[in-house]
Symmetry: C2
Subunit: 336 residues, 2 copies
């Protein structure tokens, strides 16, 4: 008898904020793994802001999700059957077939991870794609250099919390923005940022100016819109912006009227640069060495917000876009 498993399908393309009815929980037959394939029981899956863009039917850097097909995304699981050399039953693997209980995958599309070194779900967060995003954005895209004052938006999120901590470990003054007083306390407390503000507390430009009266040199942008405009106003000469995300706009039906002050980039000699982490896989080794060491030494902190059960993954995703998470938003599947 065939193995049965559940998956989350895209039932409708969201208009604005996604709703439960845009998703469908389906039970399907799980195919047998073919030659050079493995069968995986997923234990954890990731929900990430970039997934919102893939739910629209517009050309982007990754193709849109198909309707009535399972969603995709980062996940870790354990191999329960293998027809592939080098990946054995019992191995923990990282792959991109989340949003489902079970999956088959080509062995070339999975990466075996060491769960003795770190819990499996860390490979979806601090040691995974969000971590590498923070590292590459700060060092390679923004070109962090000595003495830079750094501003990070979404500072309590998976990427922002790490970007700020990497800058702190390298000796920089770091300012963060986050979406609640509790998050702000977390950012300036456990995460060790020098200053932070709740962006709901007023005009972002004024809040940033108060937190960094002498200005900033680097802005790590996870939010876009008003935050980006505020950063441009506070950036000093030769300032740099790593354009990483624009979560403020992902659900927007109309594009934002911002930044209205990009003309300042001329006189200030600013550089704004967009990037996608998948172009930067060659930096994974450097990232794992440097950030992994800080993590083992307890110098880097990371939180997880865990939602339990595949059936609740749409709610986890919707909550992520609302900023309900602190640190990495994860969904725990099956036995974990």
């Amino acid at each position: 008898m065939a193995l049965r498993g559940r998956e989350i399908q895209l039932a409708a393309r969201p208009q604005g904020e996604p709703r439960d009815t845009d998703f469908r929980l389906a039970e399907v037959d799980v195919p047998e793994p073919g030659q050079d394939q493995v069968l995986i029981r997923n234990a954890w899956m990731s929900v990430d802001p970039y997934m919102r863009g893939r739910m629209n039917d517009v050309p982007s850097y990754v193709p849109p999700f198909a309707l009535d097909a399972p969603l995709e995304g980062g996940a870790v699981g354990v191999v329960i059957a293998s027809n592939a050399d080098g990946v054995d039953v019992g191995d923990w693997v990282l792959h991109n077939f989340g949003w489902r209980d079970y999956t088959i995958a080509d062995a070339s599309a999975v990466r075996v991870v060491d769960v003795a070194l770190a819990p499996a779900q860390a490979y979806l967060g601090v040691l995974g794609m969000p971590g590498l995003t923070a590292y590459v954005g700060l060092l390679d895209i923004a070109g962090l250099r000595e003495g830079d004052v750094v501003f990070v938006s979404g500072a309590a999120g998976a990427v922002g919390s790490l970007a700020g901590q990497i800058a702190k470990q390298r000796g920089h003054r770091v300012i963060g923005s986050a979406g609640s007083p509790e998050k702000v306390a977390h950012v300036t407390g456990e995460l060790g940022f020098d200053a932070a503000f709740d962006y709901h507390g007023g005009d972002v430009a004024a809040l940033l100016r108060d937190a960094a009266p002498e200005g900033i040199d680097v802005y790590f942008d996870n939010v876009g819109g008003e935050h980006l405009e505020a950063a441009i106003a506070s950036l000093r000469q030769n300032g740099r912006v790593a354009l990483c995300g624009a979560i403020s706009q992902y659900n927007a039906a109309e594009p934002p009227c911002a930044p209205r002050n990009l003309g300042q980039a001329i006189g200030k000699r600013l550089t704004l640069r967009g990037f996608i982490v998948s172009d930067h896989g060659h930096r994974m080794r450097d990232f794992a060495r440097e950030v992994g060491a800080w993590l083992r030494e307890g110098r880097i902190h990371h939180r997880e917000t865990v939602v339990d059960g595949l059936e609740r993954s749409p709610a986890a995703f919707i909550g992520l876009l609302r900023g309900e998470n602190t640190g990495k938003m994860l969904v725990k599947l099956g036995e974990g």
Copy 2:
């Protein structure tokens, strides 16, 4: 008896578009040149879009013009008295004390130019600051590379016309925008651009898409606002923008609601970089060698729009901001 000369003073800070009454023609005593100084009779002066910013009382990369004091800007003239070694009576010199008939200047603040090689006023245009701006913006800021499709706004202006021609000389496909059918004909005719459009003729994004259906790789921005938004929409992956000017905004009382699509810079991995030519003086020698050679060979064309008489320099400046010029806007002073 002291030498008397005329100068244009800033009488009031313009609100929106400058008016005649914002300027004042004054007659003043011209001081004697001191030690290591020269006395210059100006022959040509430049009006440039960046001067509009200096008329506002806001901090910028250059200090604002002072009220009731003479304006400043590029000019060439002939030395009529000298107390400095190395600069002789009869020498033609380039300097920054335009908007007046006569000036004294430190010898260190003037550059002797060779009027046998090119007419004096060329050092205010194709062989001067606008030329170097085009060269640096295209090569160093946008990082022009083989196969790039290039879009230049303000393509009939002093900087844009040269930026496009440099790209053409280097073998690129070049698209331009300009402000009238006559300018468009000039851009695709004499200047040799592959395509051009009149930006008054419709939605800039649609006009650009029609002119470059496969997209663009480099945008040389002299205009800002709607043009920049259109370019972002048409830029391909790894595209680059040299932010050189934003003439559409210089007279604006309210900042523009654009670009609204900067979020696309993430997925497209775009880089937008502002620059000021005065940071790039070290490239003058390369520029003069490369572009100077093309000019001598007749491969580069440049037009001038000449307004006669110091008293008409405010009108020349106002006309420049309205786009009344084709090529470099110049004011001819005295005997020239």
